[in-house]
Subunit: 251 residues, 2 copies
Amino acid sequence: MGRMIRSRLPQPHVLADDGDERNFCSTCVFGPIFWAAGMDKSSLHDLHALVEHAGPYRKDEYIFRRGERFGAIFAMRGGVAKTRVIDDDGREQVLGFFLPGEVIGLDAIHPEIYPCDAIALDTVYVCRFSFAALTMLAAKLPDVQRQLFRLLSAGIGKATILAGDHTADERMAAFLLDLADRYTTRGFPVKCYRLMMPRTDIANHLRLATETVSRVLRRFCDNALIRVKGRALELLDVPRLRHLARNLRHD
Amino acid sequence: MGRMIRSRLPQPHVLADDGDERNFCSTCVFGPIFWAAGMDKSSLHDLHALVEHAGPYRKDEYIFRRGERFGAIFAMRGGVAKTRVIDDDGREQVLGFFLPGEVIGLDAIHPEIYPCDAIALDTVYVCRFSFAALTMLAAKLPDVQRQLFRLLSAGIGKATILAGDHTADERMAAFLLDLADRYTTRGFPVKCYRLMMPRTDIANHLRLATETVSRVLRRFCDNALIRVKGRALELLDVPRLRHLARNLRHD
DNA sequence: CGGCGGCTTGAAGGACGTCAAGATTAGTGG
DNA sequence: CCACTAATCTTGACGTCCTTCAAGCCGCCG
């Protein structure tokens, strides 16, 4: 796959349509806040200094790398990404998957370097927020500060859930439901979606072997909990899945 | 120390010596910041509205309970506490242990309720920070805002470490070293300390059975990595422990 | 078609949990 | 001060869930 030459789109570049950021970032967690803040003229000016559209990152390209100096957090604008670390024994631990609207890089604030790699799973577009500028803005706009605190706090909660001691079935059920919930950005429930990551990534995320992932999915199929065909997924029995995952909910 | 009879102390009460908060909270993460902020007179006034000394909480008493409405974060002033959740099957998951100077309750910001119980392991004193007041202060004092962001971000990193897939030995080594590092609040390394929690809590924290905790400690003893006598602990071979824990470092 | 990466499936082995007693220790009352 | 009870901790035997190893199977792209 060496040849992602210029045929596959020149290179990551800033998108052309920055003109109307407020509309463009409608999916972003900061969208509503900025929209509200945009009512105020001077704040709107700050905004342009703050946010920078970047992408596309192609499949397997790095959005940032572990060890790089922290300078910005990223909001997914399109596509899906994962964060991961590789330990000294070469084993990959997938920390999380990120869907449009979600934010990457919050765990880099404290160490002041990115503690993990962020990698595109397909073609990814992001908003890059200078953290220095963001903190300054947060001091002026309470809503921005509050949203940042909430995001960070939610990050702790999310990480904590994964830390628990659960069976493969529980983890998998929770994972599938969580993805569905997150795809359901707006109101109506999604029962059908596509896993954009390989089994390996799911396994490394849930602390399982890929073989176990396969087997659990098969068992779920046999028990009519889901339907799977490759990466296409359908949730058939959400209540029973929820029951399985009852101890891993993020309320 | 037998007589905590009628004692059981009437109830947690505010300590008498609030007079000199700046000295009293020398161990607290906010200490230095407030001390600096204290230079400014109007900020010092905010401080008194913000922080409230509470305790003592006796062994097994709750500092807060899961589900209670979030209003404040707590800095440990004395004693040791744990946070935990109990799942629907009655199994306890210990999320963390907290030593003097450390902060509890950050994971409650987002859900706006405490997502876990906080329980004293011995006699505990805390500083209670009204979070509403703290955010207002953060908007005025960049250092406070920055410290909050750092604390929250560090919380994500910490939770993430526990989420990884590691053997019992790796976990235990990392746990023992982490405690030693944290006891080493100031400069010089501690090789000898006392575990203030029962084996059960260690087990539920590291996702192990208490029997496994016992066995691992025994093996560490046999291999001259540590010495244990009940809850008294001595680290004998820190380098080899660090090597065991190499994949769980919080850099 | 042929090859290659991702996925599935089966069989064997290991790390840790569970169950069941003991051994310490600590807490309590005489 | 000591005995007694209960909790905590240890130790061993056995079971289980998941991993590891080893093939086979698809689906995709040249």
